[in-house]
Amino acid sequence: MGKEIIKRTKLEIAKSPEGLEGPGFFATKLDSVIGLARANSLWPLPFATSCCGIEFMATMASDYDLARFGAERLSFSPRQADMLMVMGTIAKKMGPTLRQVYEQMAEPKWVLSVGACASSGGIFDTYSVLQGIDRIIPVDVYVPGCPPRPEQILEGVMKIQELAKNESLRRRDSSEYKKLLNSYGIE
């Protein structure tokens, strides 16, 4: 009768960064603490246009449960989002919209390009389709697949978490970062 209910009691909390520990105190770098907080509370902005978006819905739902990674709060406003997840074919006509969404996001921001179409145009090598979103915005992590399975999308999110964890707090103010954005004609 019915499904057996499995109780999962083994909880894991995020590992603390390296530091000096003693009775009553713990000293570490500010970079690590902020990175830890950012990595485990990423607010994704889903930009889902096609079948990869359907896989993303599965990723969000209970079976795969993106919430386990502290990313259950989807932000449909770019202003509060940290991670832009582009899932699906981006037509050339949609390019400026995607770019505007990216520009509206506050720093720090990361971009996850999910699937063959978002990463390279995929099978749509045609006059109307953007041949990879990295032609208009910088991308941090690419997830291959057509469409990728939810596990792959989760892997991509974990890679972004890794980037967020290890990023220097000064990176977004650096001249290299400004140069990167300028190379895309942003700012």
Partner: protein, 166 residues
């Protein structure tokens, strides 16, 4: 049924127009008329306004290019819903002068269809109130469904022949 429609419309057109109706045929059991570019607007106008024919609905309007790449064409699909009659009207014109009169003044629904046809084939509809691209990006400088333009995106450099053993 199709034969009857063909005969009926053909007789009406023959009676009204001395020239301009180039073909009347029944491919795939569908009454089809080929009309010269000069007469197309007059013929369409007549097909709609004649009380007996009354093709009051423009189902579709689309463009095409002939196999020899020398001519473009426009096809009109007309529907009389009262009598359940459908016909197809074709017209051809040379690529060098792709200009035909707009049908927006006959069917308002032709507006977006003509814009689409312009967008993909570069057919210039004379008298159209707002003839600009509708589906493709405004910056596009080609008419992508013409055979002279490649289908593939030309900005990709990772598709060299070497990768595909060509």
């Amino acid at each position: 049924m199709s034969q009857e429609i063909l005969d009926k419309v053909n007789a009406k057109l023959k009676e009204k127009f001395e020239s301009g109706i180039e073909h009347a045929e029944l491919p795939y059991d569908f009454a089809t008329f080929t009309v010269s570019k000069e007469k197309i607007h007059e013929v369409l106008s007549f097909l709609k306004s004649d009380p007996d024919l009354n093709f009051h609905f423009l189902t579709d309007l689309t463009g095409f290019q002939t196999e020899d790449e020398k001519h473009l064409g426009v096809i009109y699909h007309l529907h009389n819903m009262v009598k359940n009659m459908r016909i197809r009207v074709k017209t051809f014109f040379p690529m060098s002068n792709p200009e035909i009169p707009s049908a927006v003044d006959i069917w308002a629904g032709a507006n977006w269809m003509e814009r689409e046809t312009y967008d993909f084939y570069g057919v210039k509809f004379k008298g159209h109130p707002n003839l600009k691209r509708i589906l493709n990006v405004d910056e596009m400088d080609i008419f992508p469904l013409r055979k002279e333009y490649p289908l593939e995106d030309q900005s990709r450099d990772d598709k060299s022949d070497k990768m595909f053993g060509r």
